[in-house]
Symmetry: C2
């Protein structure tokens, strides 16, 4: 397979863009990616588009990519629409990478986009709730309703399902390893403080761990600031073959590994999905976790970041609380994690997140990350997870990038 | 890029499967594909899943593939969910092909599936109506309603949009080339008669062109039998590298070309999408239209088949009516088109169609197509189109297969 490089990136600020359409958000991200790459839109040979929920939010169930791309004058080329819940955009990036790695095309764009806010808030929650087995959930809720004689009360229960799940993981970790609420609060405080340095972040106010602990309780031990918010946004990157990249830039960022996986629960005694996919990515890149200098990981909740750090080998199992106590993953530490603010502070427009993570590492490795720059970073990693089946993510993608 | 082979195929009958879930339909197709290939499900390294409308029909907006695959005990591997309206399944096949052609994986499955029937018929129509620019359509309908002072009357108008479009194409062709209603009726009669020989077909009653003309008018000149029906179903195929295929079968079918494209309207003076994509596919395969011995094409309406035959070079522009008069594209003719019955008679569960077309050509080239076998066919082609933007398909994929 051929070596692949990233030569440009763009994104909107993640925010409650109530008056902007998905076309408008995508255009800003694509314009940014093309202009930073110095590539004309007519040079694109294919586009892979990640989006998770437009069908339920806007009714645009089909040809989501073509609709936004045509609006900005891009057409006539292959457009792949892909979805993997919260990992939709990393999946799109993976496919764009595959097109180039295979030798089929030389210049391909990956776009992630999501318009999640809706004036009817329940519609946003229902869309998020579709990232599980909907049929199974309806059967479960129906039998719960039947048990309590409460016809129809199941509606909307999916809204807190993910955070209930993360709260359970958090309590298990506390029980097993002595991790504390303060550790989780420190993750959120770190990421909010990182977000305050990022003009693309939805939340740009630095927070202390005391403030995080004092925010409203969502699902014990998770307070609101430990949970990623609902948001809108888009991100785009331009990929080329390594040889082709040299025509456009003397600062390409290389994709050393691109690995996608799904839940492990059907594989007896297998490690968790993040560990498995991460291991394959390290193998593909020929490096280990000790070589990673900056990472963007899927902190949909604060405890998730800690568990992912362990699964990716940034520390031993159970020792992620110590990472926080020692400031290892904060800007200025040995291995800054989520310098962008992560999902907790940069925000989480579901189908945009994976490409936004790639964009952040692209900027970090090129030394273009402004106030949140990780000094001298040469090796970066992204981890993007999505959906839930059988007690773990239904999809996870890990990418390793280097200069 | 590596050579890729298909080694197994399976599908459900396309029909109104009102009491069967998408999981159930997909399982039948996957079981058939795996057992015909002689491959255990644990040997699969990745799966690409095409589905267009589950979000709007069943609420399963996200991780559609993982949900059905987990139900049949397949997990732990990369799952790509992809959508391209009526071309969703061919897009999934294209991605499965790309995984193997790139060298990344050796055994990959492509699945197409759709559950389109819903007890609320309007829901099915609304889902079909989402294969255009929904925002633009809403604006158009709103301004139409305003013009006639008829608030809200726009709802549901999308139901006939595609057939109105095809009716316009048909009238243009009649005007320009002297094609007649009888020619369109002959297409439908041919495909219904082919369908009568196919146990997988939704409609298995042979029809005469007089019967087709006598069926209810949908949009002049299209009668009901000239329009593809709503249906449910699933199809699956197993792909491997050519080298790997030999371990499993002495009858592999090779994928000589896999090309995806989108609408041409932004490319000045470009030929139509089908012509462009077809041309690239012939180039990739190193053959021409004169070499094709059997084809499955996207006859969402009867005139569409004629126009596609011209665009793919099976005859000169304007001469497709003559193809019908001479029986060229009927079973027994020089180049049978849609021996399966096509979308008109086999049926069109949107996100399943593209893989079902591939399955049909797989069986034809292996001599396993039963009563509808095209004698001695060695070279086959599939064409699957989806969505509509700027007056033509938003996505089209052409595949060329040989033994």
């Amino acid at each position: 397979m051929r070596d692949v490089a990233i030569i440009g990136a763009g994104m909107t600020r993640f925010a409650k863009h109530i008056d902007r359409s998905m076309k408008d958000l995508a255009r800003e991200a694509v314009d940014g990616a093309l202009s930073s790459a110095g590539v004309e839109k007519t040079a694109l040979e294919a586009v892979a588009v990640g989006n998770a929920m437009a069908g339920l939010i806007t009714g645009q169930e089909c040809i989501r990519g073509q609709v936004v791309l045509r609006d900005m004058g891009i057409g006539g080329i292959p457009v792949i629409n892909t979805e993997n819940a919260c990992a939709s955009a990393a999946t799109a990036f993976h496919l764009a990478w595959l097109y180039i790695a295979s030798g089929m095309y030389d210049v391909v764009m990956a776009v992630g986009m999501e318009k999640l806010f809706h004036e009817d808030k329940q519609r946003s929650f229902d869309a998020l709730g579709s990232a599980i087995d909907v049929e199974l959930m309806q059967q479960t809720l129906a039998s719960m309703d039947e048990a309590v004689g409460n016809d129809g009360a199941g509606a909307g229960k999916s809204r807190s399902l993910f955070m209930d799940f993360y709260a359970g993981l958090a309590r298990d970790h506390m029980h097993k390893y002595g991790t504390t609420k303060e550790h989780f609060a420190k993750v959120a405080a770190k990421n909010h403080t990182h977000g305050s340095l990022n003009p693309h972040a939805q939340f740009q106010t630095p927070r202390t761990f005391q403030e995080v602990l004092a925010s409203p309780m969502i699902a014990d031990p998770l307070t609101r600031m430990m949970c990623s918010p609902i948001g809108d946004g888009a991100a785009a990157v331009i990929l080329t073959s390594s040889d082709f990249a040299k025509r456009f830039t003397n600062k390409p960022v290389y994709v050393r590994a691109s690995v996608l996986g799904s839940g492990k629960d059907l594989v007896p005694n297998a490690p968790g999905i993040t560990e498995r996919v991460g291991h394959k990515a390290y193998e593909m890149a020929g490096i280990g976790p000790e070589d990673v200098q900056v990472a963007e990981v899927h902190d949909a909740s604060a405890p998730a970041e800690l568990i992912i750090c362990e699964e990716l080998g940034f520390c031993q199992p159970g020792e992620s609380g110590k990472l926080m106590d020692d400031g290892v993953t904060a800007l200025g530490g040995r291995l800054p994690v989520n310098p962008s603010g992560g999902l907790l502070a940069k925000g989480h427009p579901v189908g945009a997140t994976g490409v936004a993570q790639i964009a952040e590492i692209f900027w970090q490795l090129r030394g273009e990350a402004g106030k949140r720059q990780v000094a001298g970073a040469k090796v970066g990693l992204t981890e993007n997870g999505g959906g839930m089946l059988g007690g773990e993510a239904a999809a996870t993608a890990v990418h390793i990038l280097t200069v």
